[in-house]
């Protein structure tokens, strides 16, 4: 087991390195850099910077160095905990992303939990009562859930909430709790606002999970050992949960790791629509303004979280399934 963990860890490290390089390269792709868009902004508002000043700024921010030097400086800084300086917000990147990473993690983890808690029982119900009304209902819901893009659902839910609940339900906190320190009341307030994003994010994943769960369980239920157990007198409910469901769950744990990138993607779009202060939303803004260090750090944070997540899920799979041992 330890061997397995070590092997996965060794695989994860070079992946992280390559991810950081690709991230930096991607940020460098747009022509021009932050200064060009900054100067353009100033010009549009009537201000003016002459060439000497621009060159000085360029030197000061280190934007005239070759690519590999900048990348090395950036990575060295990250190793020290310094993520660079956001040229747009005029603050160190670390201050900006700290709180947002926490909120993003909370959103993603809650969605994952809610998805599993909802999808598995419904999937089991759908498989055991095949072709019943409940089954058809869940299948239809599943299809609609799969077909609706995340942002569209966010728009529709926002519209319905606005029309029928009257309030503007965007954001994670009410205005009073926005910048407060963490307290029990703040957590309760967060939960009150969290249901909407979790609902929107989770529908897609839940629909897919229900379908997969139903298909897997249907496969398992027709196997001989189930008939044997029934013949031997094991009660239906105990039989169901002790054996086939466990086996049907197996593909889930292995695919849970891959759920993470999808969740982060979905969270990005949904948080842009619902204006939630998450990592994804900030990423969009920083990309639009070519704020290099901020965008790069955010992309790196997202990728690192994803890789860590898949690493953890691989370990979990190894623990659960004794057949997987390298």
């Amino acid at each position: 087991m330890g061997n397995y963990i070590l092997k996965r860890a060794l695989l994860a490290l070079p992946t992280l390195l390559v991810v950081s390089m690709v991230t930096f390269f991607v940020i460098e792709l747009p022509p021009g850099d932050f200064l060009t868009s900054y100067v353009a902004q100033l010009r549009a508002s009537g201000d003016y910077l002459d060439q000497v000043q621009i060159d000085k700024l360029r030197e000061r921010y280190g934007l005239d160095r070759p690519v590999y030097e900048r990348y090395y400086k950036w990575m060295a800084g990250i190793a020290r905990g310094d993520f660079g300086y956001s040229l747009e917000w005029k603050k160190p990147v670390r201050e900006l992303i700290g709180d947002r990473v926490l909120l993003t993690l909370i959103l993603t983890a809650t969605t994952m939990l809610a998805t599993w808690l909802v999808a598995i029982p419904i999937g089991v119900l759908s498989a055991t009562k095949q072709y019943s009304f409940a089954d058809h209902l869940t299948t239809t819901f599943g299809f609609i859930g799969l077909g609706t893009p995340g942002f569209l659902l966010a728009l529709v839910v926002m519209f319905l909430a606005y029309r029928y609940l009257g309030s503007n339900v965007s954001g994670f906190f009410s205005p009073d709790f926005q910048n407060a320190t963490w307290s029990w009341a703040r957590i309760v307030d967060l939960l009150k606002h969290l249901w909407l994003p979790v609902l929107v994010l989770g529908v897609n994943g839940t629909a897919g999970l229900i379908r997969t769960m139903r298909a897997n369980l249907l496969d398992e239920l027709h196997k001989p050992y189930v008939e044997t157990a029934r013949a031997k007198g094991l009660r239906e409910r105990r039989l169901l949960w002790k054996y086939p469901v466990r086996l049907a769950l197996n593909p889930f744990v292995s695919s849970a790791g891959w759920m993470l990138p999808q969740l982060f993607s979905g969270a990005t779009i949904v948080s842009v629509v619902l204006s939630l202060p998450t990592v994804g939303q900030m990423l969009l803004r920083s990309l639009q303004s070519q704020d290099m260090y901020l965008a790069g750090s955010l992309l790196l944070v997202i990728s690192v979280l994803t890789i860590l997540g898949t690493f953890v899920s691989d370990i979990a799979l190894g623990l659960m399934d004794p057949r997987i041992r390298f």
Binding site: V26, L29, F143, P149, L152, L155, R163, I269, L283, S303
Partner: protein, 390 residues
């Protein structure tokens, strides 16, 4: 026993046909792989309905100018944010009319909010005619084709106007815009999937067939690409597309971007199939009979997994369409004057505006229908292609 001429029968007593006219059960034995697939596919009702829906969608997209009622870019300051025009068959004065008609539109200004409101002007009636002459267009923008002006629906009197899905905040007809966006959104789906198919089959095939370090390398690359969340990656790549590129170039670069990330799914499927097929007996037999490798791949292995590839492709198209829609919605995809459903949904981002004009969300409904149709069809194809399905 008197030898008599009788119809040969099999054990179950069913009549058996001759070689030239198989009938009943025997038809199944001599049917080709594609015929079997088609028969199984036919039984899947939702899939058949989906196929009809897709044919309609693509038909409308191909002949977009024919189906639209007004020019999609034509703004009309006097018709901002009108609600969808209702089509009537019954007028209290004139009685029932077989031909559908619409009333005229009159505009009032609310004295308190100073907002325009639109109401039906019952005095004026415009009968809705089909296959009328309307605004001129060039079919598919070809210069050599003569100017056409035939439209599916319209009016032959001056001043007739009907906005089936309402208008947006510049007075543009939402229905006509949806019809024109269908062309862009649906074609990106096909072109993007085609590109990722080429990449996927090539790399997946190499990976599965050669094995060894080629397989290992390609697998690592695939895993790496899949471990980065797609939307942030797209956003970063799409932000790299310069602002001043012409719309066609933007269209192609977006398509290529989407394919560069989407090929991994197809590659994995292809690789899996190749790996399992490599060990099959018929491959060994072909090798012993003296075929060279290329012939084995093309003549023997490819037909075996072609049906699965088709099912995977059909399921990838809606993903591609959704990706392009999401990107355009964020503002990082296609830019005006090219319109797609995602671009249209950008107008619906403001929740206050949408609660006043919910018809702006209609492109979303069309997206859902398209994605559902493709998913059903793909499911049907996958079930039909799987030889082990019950």
């Amino acid at each position: 026993m008197v030898a008599e001429q009788r119809v040969p029968q099999d054990r179950a007593g069913e009549p058996q046909g001759t070689d030239s006219e198989p009938l009943g059960e025997e038809k199944i034995y001599v049917a080709s792989q594609w015929q079997l697939m088609w028969w199984r596919f036919r039984k899947h009702k939702p899939a058949m309905i989906a196929v009809v829906a897709i044919i309609i969608l693509y038909g409308v997209a191909i002949f977009a100018e024919f189906f639209s009622m007004v020019e999609p870019e034509q703004t009309n300051v006097t018709r901002i944010l009108t609600s969808p025009t209702r089509i009537h068959f019954y007028d209290p004065e004139k009685g029932f009319s077989l031909r559908p008609f619409v009333y005229g539109i009159e505009r009032d200004r609310d004295p308190v909010t100073l907002r325009y409101s639109y109401a039906e002007d019952r005095a004026v009636i415009y009968p809705l005619r089909f296959f009328v002459r309307g605004f001129e267009y060039k079919l598919w923008g070809l210069r050599r084709a003569s100017l056409q002006s035939l439209h599916f629906m319209g009016f032959d009197v001056q001043g007739g106007e009907a906005y089936l899905f309402g208008t947006d905040r510049l007075g543009r007809d939402v229905y006509s815009r949806i019809v024109h966006s269908a062309r862009i959104s649906l074609s990106i789906g096909i072109v993007g999937v085609f590109l990722s198919l080429i990449l996927g089959i090539l790399l997946g095939g190499m990976s599965g067939y050669f094995g060894g370090w080629v397989d290992l390398l390609i697998q690592r690359v695939i895993e790496f690409i899949r471990s980065i969340p797609t939307i942030p990656l797209w956003m970063a790549l799409a932000a790299a597309v310069p602002q001043d590129w012409p719309p066609q170039r933007v269209y192609f670069s977006i398509t290529i971007l989407l394919s560069l990330i989407a090929w991994t799914g197809l590659a994995r499927v292809v690789r899996g199939r190749f790996l399992s097929l490599r060990e099959e007996d018929f491959v060994m037999a072909a090798r012993l009979a003296g075929s060279n490798e290329l012939r084995i791949i093309l003549r023997h292995m490819v037909p075996s997994f072609l049906s699965h590839i088709i099912a995977s492709i059909t399921l990838s198209i809606p993903r591609m369409i959704l990706s392009e829609t999401s990107l355009s919605f964020l503002g990082l995809g296609l830019r005006p004057p090219v319109i797609s459903w995602g671009v249209m949904l950008r107008d619906a981002q403001n929740v206050q505006a949408v609660s006043l004009s919910p018809w702006l969300l209609l492109p979303g409904l069309i997206i859902v229908i398209t994605v559902l149709a493709f998913n059903f069809m793909g499911d049907g194809l996958r079930d039909a292609a799987d030889p082990y399905a019950r």
